[in-house]
């Protein structure tokens, strides 16, 4: 499980962000497109691509994309 790949997968869920504009340190709540639906999308993507079940609280307690990745890694 690689951080770079996760950041890519994370970015792919958005329609309106420029390619390669999201980095591990991106504060995801600052992305214009971020919403409670995107939180569900990220949880579903983690399940589909990584077979890991993140929770809503995992997302809530994260600030950056890397924070989510760290939670993914330990599950």
């Amino acid at each position: 499980m690689e951080l770079a790949q996760f950041v890519k997968d994370f970015e792919l869920q958005f329609e309106e962000v420029e390619p390669n504009s999201i980095t591990p340190d991106t504060i995801f709540r600052d992305i214009d497109e971020w919403s409670s639906l995107m939180a569900l999308v990220i949880i579903a993507m983690a399940d589909e691509n990584y077979n890991v079940k993140l929770t809503g609280d995992d997302i809530r307690n994260s600030k950056t994309v890397k924070d989510i990745f760290e939670k993914l890694k330990v599950k």
Binding site: A39, A44, T55, G56
Partner: protein, 249 residues
């Protein structure tokens, strides 16, 4: 004076009685004088409900409706009924573009097919008395108010809210009534399992969307008891919304 709200002399089947709305309904039905046949997936939790039932003569059966023979076993074990509460069910919270055929099949099986097949078999085997009342658990999502990630849950509950009207129409000749309750958010074990929703989101939703706040299983059980009783003898084919005012907006 006879009390139309009583459940005295009525035998009622309640599925999913081991927790949540099913458990609260079982406890209240027994208090109102009904004799119960309760089912649930987890034995210890079903026993917990069972020991909390007032009165006597109740029966219980541990059943997992994912097993093929569960419906046959249930119908064989039942003698005669005056009411059914289909409260066994599951929920899912996945955005539309991520839904999976397998998960969709599972939710439709447990939320729709199983209660329909149980009812069909009980009617075919003439185990439902005339003037029986059948109550399905639909949801606010079944009647058009929904939320992110509720594709499969909404679809299964929408089907329930639709099919009760057909059943009510066809079974009116037998004087059997068919209704659903459509609760808004009730914090139960089923909702606890919705891990994709954070506790903060729930608090925000309650504050913004529920004039009377979220509901309790007991508040839904009260409405179910009404629909089971003779007090609702002229109500059939109705989706009764119980939502603390959430659908006013």
């Amino acid at each position: 004076m006879s009390n139309p709200f009583t459940l005295q002399n009525k035998t009622i089947l309640i599925t999913g009685a081991s927790s949540g709305i099913g458990r609260a309904t079982a406890i209240l039905c027994a208090e109102m004088g009904a004799t119960l046949f309760i089912t649930g997936r987890k034995e210890s939790k079903l026993n917990e409900t069972f020991t909390n039932l007032s009165g006597s003569g109740h029966q219980k059966l541990v059943l997992d409706f994912e097993n093929e023979d569960a419906i046959t076993r249930l119908v064989a074990a039942i003698d005669q009924l005056d009411g059914i509460v289909h409260s066994a069910g599951i929920v899912d919270n996945v955005p539309f573009q991520f839904i999976k055929q397998k998960a969709l099949d599972k939710i439709f099986n447990l939320n729709l097919n199983v209660p329909l097949m149980i009812t069909r078999d009980l009617i075919k085997k003439r185990k439902l008395h005339s003037k029986s009342s059948i109550v399905f658990l639909s949801s606010l999502v079944g009647v058009g108010k929904t939320y992110y990630g509720a594709t499969s849950y909404s679809a299964s509950k929408g089907a329930i809210s639709s099919v009760i009207k057909v059943m009510a129409l066809e079974m009116a000749t037998k004087k059997i009534r068919v209704n659903s309750v459509c609760p808004g958010m009730v914090l139960t074990e089923m909702v606890d399992n919705l891990e994709a929703i954070s506790s903060n989101q729930l608090k925000k939703d309650e504050k913004e969307n529920y004039p009377l706040g979220y509901g309790t299983p007991e508040q839904v059980a009260n409405a179910i008891v009404f629909l089971l009783s003779d007090a609702s003898s002229w109500i059939t084919g109705t989706n009764l919304v119980i939502d603390g005012g959430a659908s006013i907006h």
